[in-house]
Amino acid sequence: MTEQTPKRIFVKGNEAIARGALAAGCKCYFGYPITPQNDIPEFMSQAIRDAGGQFVQAESEIAAANMVLGATACGIRAMTSSSSPGISLKQEALSYMAGSELPGVVVNMVRGGPGLGDIGPSQGDYFQSTRGGGHGDYRLLVLAPASGQEAYDLTIKAFDLAFKYRNPVMILGDAILGQMKEPIAPWIPDNLDPDEAADWRLDGAKGRQPRLHKSLFLQEGELAQQNRHLQEKYEAMKAEIDYESFMVEDADIIVVAFGSIGRIAKSTIRKIRSTGKKVGLIRPITVYPYPSEILKTLAEQGKKFLTIEHNMGQMVEDVRLAIRTITDSDFYSCLPGNLPTPDDFEEPILKALEG
């Protein structure tokens, strides 16, 4: 890895992601305006062209995602970004990319829903992100950063993972992450392989057999075989499971929270710890595949659980699935439309600890 000058920059999470994408060798960006992610297309419209890449403001999120499909079919690193209503429109292309095994990267800076919702932060798209989102039996690899630096780092990782597994990868953030400015230390990976897609990219069939990227499998048994292959791939992705573990060893209760909410909960836990109460945190960084094993291990140690989310209860289902044979998880919903602070989580954590 190569450090950058200046060593530290002060940017919004959105810009951190855009810069991370450029560092990762993203050559094509396709977007459409929607709050709270507009900084990404705005930054990219200049920066990716300066870097010799392509920027298109598409006619819709549908088109933007399908442009990513086209560019990645050529083995080129390409990305799109949006927020909840726009992500709903990208599901068609995501399903096709998953079915055709094309490595697009898509950013979702989640806002309140359903419908037009609001433009504030929310985690209401957890189900959509971690269950595939579009039609068919497929999964995205989903990374959930909690800070500007992590957003930068995970964006670079997103491209690597997308090409490693030939599968779309989603960065799942929210309006807090996208809009908050903080210092980050940019870096450039030095392991980029220009031939990473040499054996499957489309570039004209000169001197070789033509190549084909498709998701239609009509011959008897063909689709079943493709689906089995995809499931094996999703199983293999478990090697990428990642989470932050904070003061869990002696904890009586484990808070499970992801993204911005995980970071806010960590502040609450620090405060409660200073009063001698034993609280810990598991913050899933990959929300698909999900860090079920660590939760199960902690459950086996007799710990209690409280899942906190900025929605009406979605990830808590994954927590309960992980620990179902041992115990249950309490749930605290911080309602979309509100901006939570560390103080908001104190009472529910203490209550769960006692209860």
């Binding site: 298109v56 088109a63 442009m67 499909l69 086209g70 990227h213 498709k214």
Partner: protein
């Protein structure tokens, strides 16, 4: 008398029978596309964007690098491909349901950005693959499975004339409507495809060819009747001609 081989199948055309119905024009149009690619010397540089319709299996018949686009999205996929690989030759092959209905936004904006790609648009006035439903191009009075009494202007509007619409955009380099129902029309079609493709090679911009095509199966006609319907019923609504040609304007 000794037999003389007057035609051989070019390598780019796969050696297999197509799944198209007897009398369907898709196969003829595939061949015209293949010949144009050969004549312009771009076969080995070509990336084909397939679409959703009866031609979804185009990759079985043309030996080209190919990517399957979702229904109507071929122009967006082509945009992504061309932006990623500006030195490759990129074309979409789309039906009228695909291009003129669900994909109308994508085709309009691809053309209006002046993307340096080519579009082969096969207008057979129905949704062929799904069994003959009404398309935006269905003629007034024409029966289809979702307008069994015939398309009526009051309820369903008028047929969309894509070659004229695309030709009206400032960024379009070439737009024409042709047919393959007679030798004369076939020759003109061949020329039009070549011109549209040449625009991409010369980087003059977006090239569009609409081909009037048959669907004997869903029109419930014999191949001969279907072929005759092109001149009798389609051309009066969809006049053949060139609606934009920057290569001429430039001269």
């Amino acid at each position: 008398m000794e037999e003389e081989l007057v035609y051989t199948r070019p390598d780019v055309v796969a050696d297999r029978a197509t799944h198209y119905c007897p009398g369907c024009h898709h196969g003829i149009i595939h061949k015209l596309v293949a010949e144009a690619l050969i004549d312009l010397g771009v076969v080995e540089k070509t990336i084909c964007i397939g679409s959703i319709g009866c031609s979804v299996f185009i990759y079985n018949y043309l030996n080209l690098d190919t990517v399957e686009a979702p229904h109507g999205r071929a122009p967006a996929v082509a945009t992504g491909v061309k932006r990623a690989r500006p030195d490759n030759f990129v074309f979409t092959y789309q039906g009228d349901g695909d291009l003129a209905s669900i994909g109308l936004a994508e085709i309009m904006h691809c053309a209006n950005r002046g993307e340096n790609v080519s579009v082969v648009f096969v207008n057979n006035t129905v949704y062929g693959m799904t069994g003959g439903q009404m398309a935006p191009t269905t003629l007034i009075g024409q029966q289809a499975t979702t307008c069994p009494a015939g398309r009526c202007e009051e309820l369903e509007g008028l047929p969309l004339k894509m070659a004229e619409i695309i030709g009206g955009l400032g960024t379009t380099a070439y737009s024409a409507r042709v047919a393959v129902d007679s030798i004369k029309h076939l020759m003109a079609a061949k020329k039009a495809i070549r011109k549209a493709f040449q625009c991409q090679i010369d980087k003059t911009g977006f090239g569009f060819v609409e081909l009037l095509s048959t669907c004997p199966t869903n029109w419930k006609m014999t191949p001969v009747q279907a072929n005759e319907r092109i001149a009798k019923e389609m051309i009066p609504t969809f006049p053949l001609g060139t609606f934009k040609d920057k290569t001429v304007e430039a001269k």
